[in-house]
Symmetry: C2
Subunit: 187 residues, 2 copies
DNA sequence: GGAAGCTTTTGACATTAATCAAAAAATCAA
DNA sequence: TTGATTTTTTGATTAATGTCAAAAGCTTCC
C-alpha cells in the first residue's frame, strides 16, 4: 500500500483525514495469472492500481484479439471509457502475471471526490496524466510504419517485450504478429 | 457567453461565486480566419472554447502537415499535452473560419481550481470527457481500413466534410489525400 | 473577366503490410 | 523427459495504400 500512496503523493498532498479515508476505501487483491478483472460487455466498476504483476486490456474486433493497453507495476488498469461513462464496453482486463492490486470502486471514489477537494484534484490530475499517455500512444502510431512503431516501443518500454507474448505486442502496435516477427528478424 | 456556461453547466452546478469568478476569468476573442492561436513549439497557455467558428490543431511530421484535431462551435480547442505538461509542443492551432472564442489562462484556471471545489470537479469532468473522445478517435483508426475510417467520420461528423478541406480530413484520418479522394469517388 | 493560386482528381507504379499456410521453436504439465 | 500446446518464424501471394506527377476544377481578387 505504501508504494500506491507514494505514486499518488506525486500528484497531491493528502491531509491525514483524506489519506485515512482513501486507505479505508481501497481493497487489496492478490490474484493468479489469467484472472479476469473486467468481463466483456460489462461496466468497469473499479479503478485498479497494480502494485506488482501485469494486466492486459484487450477486445475482440472482427474475431481478432486486439491489445489496447498494458499496465505494469505502479500503474493503473481500468476500462477507462466504461468507468467514466458508466456503460458496458467490449474491453476485457486480464492478468498476464500473478498480481497484487488495489481496487477502489466507482461509488467510493465519487464519495471521496465529494468529501475531499484534494481527492477531486487527484482525480483530475490522474485523468490528465492518462490523457497525456494516450496522446503519446496515438502519436506513436499515426502515420508511422510498423518498424518505427516497434522501435519506439523498444525505446520507451523495453521490459514489456520480455514479459508479453509477441502477438499481444503486435496488436498493441496495430500490426500483425507476422509483420512484427519479420521486423524483429531484420535487426 | 451564455452558450459557454450552458455547456459547462452540463458538468457541474455553479455557485453564484464560482460562476462570477469564472466569468471574470474568461476573455472573449473575435478573430479572423487563418489566425494562429498557438504557435509551433510554444507552450499552450490558454484553454479555448469555440462559441462560433472552427479551429484546427495540426503539426508537421517529416515535412508533412498532419491534422490532429478539429474543434467546431461549442467545443474546446487546446494543445492538450502542452497545456497539461507546461512544455512546448509541435502542435499549432489555427482558425479555419472567423471565430468567436472564450479563452481562460492556465494560471487563472489553476487559481479557480484551488478556490472552488466545483471548478476542480469541472476540470476533472472536462478532461474525462476529452479522454473518452480521444479513445473513440483511437479506436476509429486502430486496425481500420481507409474506407471505414471515412465512413465512420461521415456518420459521426458529416458537417466537417463540408467545412474542412480534403487534405486536412485525410491526415486527420491517417491517410493520404489521394487515397481519400479515390474512396470518395467509389461511392 | 481572367490570370494566379489553391484544391481535388486521376493515372502509373512502388512499397508496405495483410493473409493464408505450414514449419520450427519454446513452454508447460503429467 | 516427453508429448501436447502455444508461440514464433518463415514463405508465397494478395490487397491496400503511398508516392510522384500531371491534369482538372474551384476560388478569389485585381
Amino acid at each position: 500500500m505504501e508504494t500506491y500512496f507514494a505514486v499518488l503523493s506525486q500528484f497531491i498532498h493528502f491531509s491525514p483525514e483524506s489519506k485515512e479515508a482513501f486507505a479505508a476505501a481501497i481493497k487489496r487483491l492478490e490474484l493468479p495469472k489469467g484472472y479476469v478483472l473486467v468481463k466483456e460487455d460489462t461496466i468497469c466498476n473499479y479503478l485498479y492500481f497494480v502494485e506488482s504483476g501485469l494486466t492486459r486490456t484487450y477486445y475482440f474486433k472482427d474475431g481478432k484479439d486486439i491489445t489496447d493497453w498494458i499496465s505494469p507495476e505502479n500503474s493503473f488498469a481500468c476500462s477507462i471509457v466504461s468507468f467514466i461513462t458508466r456503460k458496458p464496453d467490449r474491453r476485457i482486463i486480464e492478468l498476464l502475471e500473478p498480481s497484487v492490486l488495489y481496487a477502489i470502486s466507482y461509488e467510493k471514489l465519487e464519495e471521496l471526490y465529494s468529501l475531499f477537494h484534494e481527492i477531486e484534484r487527484l482525480g483530475r490530475l490522474l485523468v490528465s496524466s492518462g490523457m497525456v499517455q494516450m496522446q503519446q500512444k496515438f502519436d506513436d502510431q499515426h502515420f508511422e510504419t510498423a518498424a518505427r512503431r516497434y522501435q519506439t516501443l523498444m525505446k520507451t518500454n523495453p521490459s514489456l517485450l520480455l514479459r508479453v507474448p509477441l502477438g499481444m505486442i503486435a496488436s498493441f502496435l496495430g500490426i500483425t504478429q507476422e509483420t512484427l516477427s519479420r521486423i524483429r528478424s531484420q535487426v
